[in-house]
Each structure stands twice: as C-alpha cells, then as structure tokens.
Subunit: 221 residues, 2 copies
DNA sequence: ATAATAGTGTCTGTTAGACATTATAAC
DNA sequence: GTTATAATGTCTAACAGACACTATTAT
C-alpha cells in the first residue's frame, strides 16, 4: 500500500522593477490565509511533466503567457502541515524575467521582495530561497541577462547586479569585467542615448551560460 | 478534484573508496529492470517530513544507520513514465560519506561511479546530477571534509579533491590554500606517519561552511 | 561652453600556479 | 646515509578594486 500526495508547482518569479527586486504574487481571496500574499501555483495534472506544469502555471495562473522567462527547478517543500487543510507537496520553480507589462490576471501584481514580510503558507521561505539562489547564480552564470530585455546596455546590466545584490558597483571595473568575460555579451550594433550622455552600445546575451572569470560579490561594500 | 501521486525519496550516497568516487547501489531482484543497479529509495509515509524520510531510508534501505552522512536535497524528478508501472514522483537526496564499513544490507554495495553506465529507471541521470552537484560544491564549500573521517591530513583532503574532480593538484599550493582558508580546518594536535615521510598534522572540520577564497578548479589540467 | 554618461587606461595589492627548498620521519 | 612525504618559501602572471582620464552626446 503506497500513500499518495497531491503535488503542486509554485513559482517564484523575480524581476527588477522600479529599482527593486520584485516577485510576482497574488492576494488570496479564500481561507486559509485570506488576503495574504501568495505565490502563483497549482496542482500538477496526471501525465504532466514538472517543467510543463511550471510553464502552464506561468501562463494560466500567473497570467504571463509566452513571456520570456527563464525557469529552473528550485526545491521541493514537503513537511506535512505546510498546508493546514491537507498534506501538499510543493515543487518550487524559480523564474527570472525582464521588466514585463503587468500580469493580465486580477489580484496578481509585482511586489518588492523587501515588502513581502508576511505571506501565506511557507511561501515567504520559498521566495527567500529563490532570491538567494538568484543572488548566488549571478556570480558564476550569465543569468543576470535574463532580467534584461533582448537588447540592453552595460549600465542596464550593472543596475541588475546592484539591485539584486543590494550593493553599488564601480561602473568602470564592471564594464571591463563584463565585456571581457568570454561569450557573455554580443554587440548588437546599435547604441542608445536613453540615459543621456555619451551613446551606450547595445548588447544581446552571448552563448555562455557560465562566466569565466565569475563576477564575485566581494566581502566589502 | 486533486490528483495524487506516490512520492519516493531516492538517495545518491557518494564516498571515496579505493581511489574512486563511488555510489551506494543495490541490484534489483524484481522486475522491472531486474538485476540492474538501482539507487536506494522508498516511498514517503503519511505525516513524514522529506528529510526524515531520507534519513529513514539511509538507515533502513541503505543499511547505514547512524552513519555520519551529510544529506541535502538534490532535485525532484517527475516526468510521468519514469516508472513504467505507475507514475512516481521522486525527491532525490545527495549524501556525502567518509569511507564507511560496507552496508549491512544484502545486494547493497559501493560501486565506482564510472562503472555505473547502466542503471534502472532514470537513476543514472539522478546519480550524475548528484555527482555534478558534489563536484561544484567542493569549490565553494567545505563539504570535501564530509568525505573524510573525523581526523584527517591535508593530503587526505587533497586526495578527495583529486578523485572527485579527476584532476591532479599541486600538493604545495593546495596546502597553502586550504590551511589559509578561514575556518576550514582546525588543528587536532596529533600527527600521523601512516603515509610515511615527515609526520603530517591531523585536522578536524572547522566551523566554516563557505570557503573564502573558494577552491577553484581551473580551466587547465 | 557645461553636464552627464560611456568607455579606456593606470596603478597597487592579492591570489593562483609553477616550482625550489627545508623538515622530519622510516629504513 | 637514502627515500618518502610534509610543510614553507619564492617567483611571475593574472586579476580585483580604486580611481584618473578621454569620448560623445544633450542643452
């Protein structure tokens, strides 16, 4: 006799908006945790793969169909009373997105991570785990570009690092490191003066997934 | 109506034995995959937490009760037909252990990772994901010491890195880096001449979990 | 012209990797 | 003594961080 458990997929979708690292959340309109912020999620269907469920929930529940979101599995949360109604196992996925137009769904909104101090279930823990994963991965992968639109400047990319890490970075050293890292950035050819001053070159994501050398967040401020 | 799925916990327990990175596996004695190597695993019980299930399986199924094994969640595998009999979601855990006495269980043995080219279900994929996680974590955490007995020499630790990474490392540079890394090693006071030559100091694990600076596997051999 | 931002160069201290040398045991 | 391994030291090239300087736009 093998016990079965309902399995949900919950999403920690992060973006950089208004100078703040923000997560996609919705306000619950039913008990338990009525009116608390909650991560978008849903139960997996029979014969549905986990990544497929994550993409379906991103489209249907989160209201971001077809959005260019990097999705990767985060962790699985399973202690028995994390949902007071019944035991639910939750496979969390981490999504990184550029600053998108608002979700089409009612009750769904981007909220700064720092403001989400109280959430439904164990969703705050899940969200914080996702934030820490994102912070760590910016060091040794090229995922920072997942927070940017298809074409972006070095300054755009620097602001992503500064906001996600909550640190200021020297623009000149950052420029040198990021343009020297093999396969990180490809010149798009065009420039922009949207930020004023000398025109900035536009770049696209390069083929590299891992950064050599990595962008280390040093110990000092 | 919420679909439920049986959930198993499978273990990738790794150790360094006979100059080889080895995993704890057993030979299946039932179909499907009769006689294939398989990871130790079992279904979670009602009201059982995931880490608790992992420890229970380590003791009962793997035959290593009370062994000093570092356990951490690896990943969750859920595509629908990974078990041909019925859909099973598997939460994999990674375990790192010193060279232990053999498991008490029949059919259970340590096999070199490189020899496990064919396994039951998707267990080879799971095992390789665990190996890659272990390789990566040796770089920036102090987990290498989890492969060592409570007291060990710098040379012991170096052999762990060399075998897990399949690289040779310069003993002198390794010694300098590892003894300078803050909180990595604590002198145990004693020495040993078990390897011949000048007596080597014995160390214990220090309090640090993260290494500053990290032990990078460089690009070159 | 001034202001603002982009991009390059220079200097210095730290670190990685290569490798010489010394230290302490067994035989 | 020789041999084996441990531990320390030296040198050089690469890199991080601090910061001066030049380049190109808008006003």
């Amino acid at each position: 006799m093998v016990p079965s458990v309902p399995v949900s997929v919950d999403l920690v979708v992060l973006t950089v908006r208004n100078q703040a690292l923000s997560a996609l959340v919705w306000r619950r309109d039913n008990p338990p945790f009525l009116r608390r912020w909650s991560l978008p999620g849903g139960f997996i269907q029979l014969d549905e793969d986990l990544p497929a469920a994550a993409h379906r929930i991103l489209a249907e529940r989160a209201g971001l169909p077809g959005a260019p979101v990097h999705l990767e599995q985060l962790q699985t949360y399973g202690y028995p009373d994390r949902d007071p109604r019944q035991r639910v196992l939750s496979v969390a996925y981490l999504g990184l997105a550029p600053d998108l137009p608002a979700s089409e769904k009612a009750h769904m909104s981007w909220q700064p991570v720092s403001s989400l101090t109280v959430m439904a279930f164990d969703h705050r823990r899940i969200m914080l785990d996702g934030v820490e994963r994102a912070r760590a991965k910016l060091e040794y992968t090229s995922l920072s570009a997942a927070f940017c639109p298809p074409e972006f400047t070095v300054a755009d990319l620097r602001r992503v690092y500064e906001i996600v890490w909550d640190r200021s970075l020297d623009p000149r050293n950052f420029h040198r490191k990021v343009t020297k890292a093999e396969g990180f950035l490809l010149e798009a050819g065009a420039t922009t003066t949207r930020d004023g001053g000398r025109p900035a070159k536009l770049y696209r994501r390069g083929p590299a997934e891992l950064l050599h050398p990595p962008m280390l967040r040093s110990l000092k401020e």
